[in-house]
Amino acid sequence: MAREAGARQIAVELERRRRGAAGVDVGQSYWQIARRRFLKHRLALLGASAAIVLTLMAALAPWIAPAPFDRINLDHRWTEPGLQGNVFGTDELGRDVLTRIMYAGRISLVVGYVVALSISVAGALVGAIAGFYGGWLDSLLMRLVDMLISIPLLPLYLILAALIPGGGVGRIVLIFTVFGWTTVARLVRGQILSLKTADFVEAGRAMGASESRIILRHLIPNALAPVIVAATLTVGNAILAESGLSYLGLGIQPPIPSWGNMLQRAQEYLLKASWLAVFPGLFIFFTVLSFNFLGDGLRDALDPRLKT
């Protein structure tokens, strides 16, 4: 056993030197290269840091928020933003806007993360099945994808939200997942189709690898990169969709705060208290922006065709 491992190490080392002599990237796996590229991508790093800060702000809200959650103070309604007291002002019930934004961020970010995760899993599964087995199942699934991609989903979400009772995170996640898996499925299917005939997969098959081994060891890891990118961009898109739906009053329902439903009545108060319209929207904007920067940087870093 030990001798075998030793021999293997020597073989690896020999291969490394041979490649080094040929001027090929030495001793770096795909993920190491990706990591190095990512760390050089300034906008991506900016996006990643902002996403981390925003997530921490939301997660730690109960400990760092300047005021207790939803404390109503009728003596301090419509307080303008100021550095003393209420940084982002207070709303029509005298609640501190910054505190509410922090708590609302928990809901909005959870929607983003959970939707991204569930869409990735569901989409990868469907795409892998369609790509691997092909045939009528593939045709059927891809027609379904075509259909869902070619209809505007927000009108559908509005109708569904009116039909399905409840106003919490679960309903939104369910609706977004059932209709949102298509992009990831299409990506993974394309990836699987091109991998299926790749030489290293053929080699695995020739060596007698089982079907499940080929899927688990070869296909899924190699199809992972585009899924990671899509998932990152989905966080932002889900937050956008949730905020739009909640703004219309059909997403997350008060008293649960979300960035979208904080803006529900902002237009009404625009003349009296414009800060109520500005700050929650800024948080949606910067959050989505940072996930888009991050996703774009990941796309560049994970693309093996790009030169380092």
Binding site: I149, I151, P152, S243, Y247, L271, G281
Partner: protein, 321 residues
């Protein structure tokens, strides 16, 4: 070419059939069928009558029979009655559809012109300050929530600097003719700009990368080698080829822009399909809501078909596959 178009039409029909199944499923789950409406509004209706009526409307038929009947009536243009307005749904849709089309068409044209111009400029001046600015603005336009952008624009350009109206389509009591037309255009500015933002951003980024690819092609080098002026090389050789793939992207962006239209119309109280949908959903007027969904989907399918044909005309390689 004909074969290609025929295949795309079949494809569109398949999508519509799938869509009709989805919509019918939704319809089955909507509360309040016509009989329930009659029974709840009239205390004289007896249970026997309800049974009779249910039979008359075919509500107890098997699901597939009901589906076929429903499709038949939809194809004939019968989309049911609106609960709120008390008139056939098709009557309400007409004017709203025109308003939405006006908004949509203006936004697509604006987004296309600005997006393509910015993208091309960006590509021709790669790594310049302008290129960097286009990229950052495009990211921002891609990430901003449509409805919030609308609210902020109202705050900036209707409240703080009262240059444009904050909503609606026409100032009441304005005299018809040129002043009315001018007024209409004035009302279009803010909603169209807001609706065009996401398309502008996406198309500028895409145009930039396609253009960068195209200007490195051999045929562009050949065009330069022939001694053409830079303007001819860019306009005739590079731009024409770079514009082909963007046709598909425009078609693919339509569902997203329609999503944005629902929010834009609500923010700016623009009396189009989106606002109608929003009001219908709040008022549980499901026949209207479903009709709007159907029309928006039809618009997308139709637009995709047009784009496919345009693509085939622009790129001869597509026709023979």
């Amino acid at each position: 070419m004909q074969g290609f178009v025929a295949r795309r039409v079949v494809h569109g029909v398949i999508i519509l059939v799938g869509l009709s199944i989805l919509m019918f499923t939704l319809l089955v789950f909507t509360p309040g069928d016509p009989v329930e409406l009659i029974a709840s509004s009239n205390p004289d209706v007896k249970p026997e009558d309800v049974a009779q009526l249910r039979k008359y409307y075919g509500l107890d038929d098997p699901v597939y029979v009901r589906y076929v009947k429903w499709v038949r009536s939809v194809v004939k243009g019968d989309l049911g009655y609106s609960r709120t307005y008390g008139t056939p749904v098709t009557k309400i849709i007409g004017q709203r559809l025109r308003n939405t089309l006006a908004l949509l068409a203006s936004a697509v044209v604006l987004a296309f012109v600005i997006g393509v111009t910015a993208g091309v400029y960006s590509a021709l001046h790669q790594y310049s300050a302008a290129d960097y600015a286009v990229t950052v603005v495009a990211f921002a336009g891609h990430s901003v929530p449509v409805f919030w952008q609308g609210i902020v624009f109202i705050l900036l350009f209707a409240v703080w600097k009262p240059w444009f109206p904050a909503g609606g389509m026409l100032t009441p009591g304005i005299e018809p003719g040129w002043p009315a037309l001018w007024d209409r255009l004035w009302h279009l500015v803010l909603p169209v700009t807001v609706l065009a933002t996401s398309g502008m951003a996406a198309w500028a980024r895409y145009m930039r990368s396609t253009m960068l690819e195209v200007i490195r092609q051999d045929y562009v080098r050949t065009a330069r080698a022939k001694g053409n002026s830079e303007q001819v090389v860019i306009n005739r050789h590079a731009l024409r080829n770079a514009l082909i793939p963007i046709i598909t992207l425009v078609a693919l962006s339509i569902p997203g822009i329609l999503n944005g239209a629902v929010l834009t119309e609500t923010v700016f109280s623009w009396p189009g399909m989106g606002l109608l949908l929003f009001q219908a959903v709040l008022g549980h007027d499901y026949n209207v809501a479903m009709a709007v969904l159907l029309f928006l989907a039809l618009m997308t399918v139709l637009f995709n078909l047009v784009a496919d044909v345009a693509y085939a005309m622009a790129d001869p390689r597509i026709r023979f596959d």
